[in-house]
Every structure is written in C-alpha cells, then in structure tokens.
C-alpha cells in the first residue's frame, strides 16, 4: 500500500544514511522531511482533526527531530518509528494539557476511536467500538495509520514481538466482536 508520496516505507539503509548525514547536511534532512512530512501530518491530523493544531504539532515534531539529530542524541535504529512516537507524545500532551490528568503509557484512545468512527462498514464499525481501547489502538496504528510493525512497536514502546502478540490478540478480539454483532443482529 503506497503512502502519500509513493513508497509507503523508506528503505532502511537509505534512512540510516540520511539520518547519519542529516546531522550536518540540510539536503539529507530535507529528504527525510519530504518523505515523512505528509505521513506525520496525517498521523497527527487524524487525531486532532484541526488543521492549525495539526500544523503546530507537526512543526514541533520535526523541530524536535532536528534538534535531536543535530546534537547527536538519536540512538534509535528506526527513525520513522521514533518520529511517530514523538508525534504521538505531542498529540497526547496537547489533548491532556488542559486537564493535567495522570495517564498510563499507551492510552491514546483518540486514534482507535477515530478509526472506528471513520470506518464505513456498519458491522466492522460496531465491532471496533466494542473493543477495549488498547485493542483499537493497536489496530489503528497498523491499519489506519499504516505503520510497519517496527514503527508501531516504537510508538507503543514495546518490542516488535510484543506488538505482534498484541496485534494477534486485537484481531482475535475483533473477530469475536464481529461474531457477537452478527448474533445480536439476528
């Protein structure tokens, strides 16, 4: 599945090279920016649903990326996943800033809810809405945001293997919810 600019994933070797050069090379950072801007913006916009807010959070995400790369503080092997993680942090901070509530890592209900709301098929939508927020979140990252397993696991702060297990459980839960929907409708 292609992303906004053609290829849905950047070649890992190419990405590593660009990240290494971007510390002091504007053209390299520009290439990373051009590839990830529409993806990060879309990721943020789907959660906040407001253009100017999405622009601010996207700008803050790339500013953070620039500063981290420039100061050689970037240690993660997967730049894309790390960028999504920074964007996700920015979104959650934005949503929670007013209430200053305590929340646990990974509780980003808005993405799963947005996915359920955007799905057109009534059976699938109703089944998604029956799921626990954690299951919806995993499904949203994988299918709504179209993130790779590496990217999604970085966003969630877990290993790729753990993400695979969580995805499998979420799909199983969704299958069960769809069966329940069919039963209820009968």
């Amino acid at each position: 599945m292609d992303g906004p600019d053609g290829a849905s994933r950047m070649d890992r070797d190419r990405e590593r090279t660009l990240v290494d050069r971007a510390r002091s090379d504007a053209a390299a950072f520009g290439e990373l920016y051009d590839f990830y801007l529409p993806r990060i913006y879309g990721f943020v916009y789907r959660r906040v649903q407001e253009r100017s807010v999405a622009e601010d959070l996207t700008a803050a995400t790339f500013q953070r990326a620039l500063e981290t790369l420039r100061h050689r503080e970037f240690r993660n092997d997967a730049f894309g996943g790390w960028l999504y993680r920074v964007a996700a942090n920015a979104v959650v901070d934005h949503v929670r800033r007013g209430s200053r509530l305590t929340y646990l890592d990974g509780t980003d209900g808005s993405s799963g809810d947005a996915f359920a709301a955007a799905v057109e098929g009534l059976d699938l939508r109703a089944a998604l809405e029956r799921l626990a927020p954690a299951h919806r979140q995993v499904l949203a990252l994988r299918f709504y945001d179209d993130l790779s397993a590496d990217e999604a696991s970085t966003v969630l702060g877990c290993s790729r293997a753990t993400f695979a297990v969580r995805l499998h459980r979420a799909l199983a839960a969704l299958r069960g919810a769809m069966a329940q929907e069919a039963t209820d409708a009968a």
């Binding site: 053209a27 950072f29 622009e55 901070d93 509530l101 890592d105 299918f143």
Partner: protein
C-alpha cells in the same frame, strides 16, 4: 489463521478509505515554510530552494525552447545580413545603434535601415528590399511601463511578550494577534544584543531560534531550549502575513536561563499494586513546570522523554512525589528497566528539560 488474513484485508481496505480525507494532507505553504525554517537551522543552511529559476532551468523548459531558437536565428540572420551589406557596398559604416535582440527596447531600429544607406549605383541588383530585414518577423510593440500600484504597508499591531528564564531554557508567552491584517503565522527572533529589527529574514545579528513558528493564531507560547545558561538573550515575537510582511510585533524582552536542575535520587520498589517510584518534588515554581514525565527504557541507559522514549505517566501537579505503575501495564515481570523522572516545561510548540532525577535501574520481580 485464514480469518486473520481476511480481517487484515478488511481492515486495510477500511483504513485506506478512511485516509482519503483530503484535509489530512499538509498545506503546501505550510510545508514549504516549515521546510525552509528547519533547513535554515542546519550548519549548511544554504540549501537550494525546491523551486528555483536559473538560466539553466529556463532553457530546460520545453515551452521556451522555440522562443530561444527563434531568438538565436534572428540574431544570426541580422548579423549575416548586415555583414553581407557592408561587404557588398562601398559605403560608410552605418552609425552604431542598438542591435536587434530580444532585449531590444520598443524603439530599436535596424542599423542598416534604408535611411542610413548611401545610394548604391554600381550594384543595381542589390536593392535594399533584398536585405534580410528582421522587421517583418520581430516588431516589438511599445508597451507602456507598468506603474506599480502603491501598496500600503500592513497595519502594525502590538503584541505583548513575556520571556521567562527557567532551568534548561526560556518560556515565551505572547498575546494573540488582534490586528486587521491577514494573519499567516507567528515567529520569534532572538539576539544576544538588544537589537531585533521587525523584519524577516532576520537582520542585524538576530536569528530564528527554531521552534517558535506557529500558523495557529491562538497558539501563543513557545520555548527556546537552544541557549547557554547564564547568558542574556533578547526576544521579539512577530506576526506575519503570507508574504512574510510584519503585521504585528512585540517590544524586545530579555531572559536568562540557568542549568538543568537535579531532583536527586529516584527510589524504586515493589508494592502490592505494582512498582512504586518516589522522588523529591520540584521547587522551581509553576512557571517552569508542566509535567513530571516518568521516562523508561529497556535499552537506553539514559531514558529521555524529549528523546522519544516512552513514559509511565505524565503528572501535572508539581507537589506529587510518588507514583505506582500497576503490574503488567508497562513494566513487565522479569524485565530490567532504566527509569528516571523528568520535569518538562511544555507548550504546543515544544518543550525542554527543566530538572531530572538520577537514573534508577530496576528489575521487576
């Protein structure tokens, strides 16, 4: 496993449809402005603009090739014609006058016009009309010089700006733009002397510190973490229209930051509900506090919220000194984690590290 694959396809199709929302694509002006702002902060900020006009570009454009070819042919034909005329005729060299070219003004005259020529009696076959006169093909039409319509400068609104020096950075808060101009974005410039002209690009030694660009008229705070402690920095926030014209500006305000504070040791232990973290509260004042972020990592020995590491919780009360992470929620039994509490001062345009505990290494029983 087949049902999972069917569900995969179903969900992928649903996701594709949901992503078709056109508003999920970034605005071109925003993308270009942000790109320029970011790349200008890198050491070799002399990046090439993505859309530029140069002579090479001009002549690579197919639609301009015929025009270029016609211009060359015209110049050659004029030059040959004039040389032929001079060679064949025993007459004085014509009075120099502007040579015909694409840059000719509307009043240009061929230098070998009939009026300028003497009579030619010994070569009757060479008539002036036989000369390759370029007139029929290129006859520039005089065009009146367009008079630029005077554009009045946009009205300048006054913004108020407060700069607060904190451990680790400076917080910038300004009043929203309320003038009558077409607001496009905010930007704050910085200098180490009290001189920041109301203009963009920055002049007089001022710089764009990065991270203060906002296209949201109601986003009125940002941070500057790219500074040295104990140095006085001066700031001016400006509102711009889409042409980078200044439509609002604050007075110049100064601030001095201090080094990042230490919260001392983080104690970690097991309680019935899970893993308990305890630390000393931050005493630096509300103006420099937004959250405690309880950053953790299995692989990074110096976990950092701003570095993108995950966190157990964000706590908005500066008097909080402990937190219990329920068993199984994030910290998994048998795994070893690096954990530390960080105080972050955050705005929608970014944040900076204010204070932090030492890193605790803990294996969940």
């Amino acid at each position: 496993m087949q049902p999972d694959r069917d569900l995969d396809r179903l969900l992928s199709a649903a996701g594709s449809r949901a992503r078709l929302d056109r508003d999920a694509a970034p605005d071109r002006d925003f993308a270009a402005s942000l790109r320029d702002s970011l790349l200008a902060q890198l050491p070799d900020g002399s990046h090439e603009p993505r859309v530029g006009w140069s002579l090479g570009t001009l002549f690579r454009l197919p639609r301009l090739v015929p025009l270029a070819a016609a211009a060359v042919l015209l110049l050659v034909s004029v030059a040959v014609g004039r040389d032929l005329y001079v060679a064949l005729g025993d007459h004085p060299t014509p009075t120099p006058s502007p040579s015909p070219s694409l840059e000719a003004t509307p009043t240009v005259e061929p230098s070998f016009s009939a009026e300028a020529r003497p009579s030619v009696s010994f070569l009757p076959v060479v008539e002036p009309t036989a000369m390759p006169v370029p007139e029929p093909t290129v006859k520039p039409t005089p065009k009146p010089t367009p008079k630029p319509t005077p554009v009045p400068p946009p009205p300048m609104a006054v913004l108020s700006l407060a700069a607060t020096g904190c451990p680790g950075g400076v917080v910038l808060d300004w009043s929203p733009y309320e003038g009558g101009g077409a607001f496009n974005h905010y930007l704050t410039l910085r200098n180490t002397s009290e001189s920041i002209p109301k203009a963009y690009p920055p002049q007089g030694g001022a710089v764009d510190p990065g991270g203060t660009y906002s296209a949201n008229i109601s986003t009125t705070s940002a941070v500057d973490a790219e500074i040295s402690a104990s140095v006085t920095y001066y700031y001016r926030t400006m509102a711009f229209n889409a042409d980078d014209g200044v439509i609002g500006a604050s007075a110049i305000t100064s601030a001095v930051a201090s080094p990042v504070s230490s919260l001392g040791t983080l104690s970690v232990g097991t309680v019935a509900e899970g893993t308990k973290l305890a630390w000393t509260s931050f005493a630096g004042g509300d103006g420099c506090f937004t959250w405690y972020k309880l950053a953790y990592s299995e692989s990074n020995p110096t976990p950092s919220y701003l570095g993108g590491d995950p966190y157990l919780a964000a706590l908005g009360d500066p008097s909080t000194t402990s937190y219990v992470s329920p068993t199984g929620e994030a910290l998994v039994s048998g795994h070893t984690y690096y954990i530390r509490v960080q105080v972050i001062r955050a705005t929608d345009l970014g944040g900076f590290l204010v204070a932090q505990t030492d890193v605790a290494t803990y294996t969940v029983p």
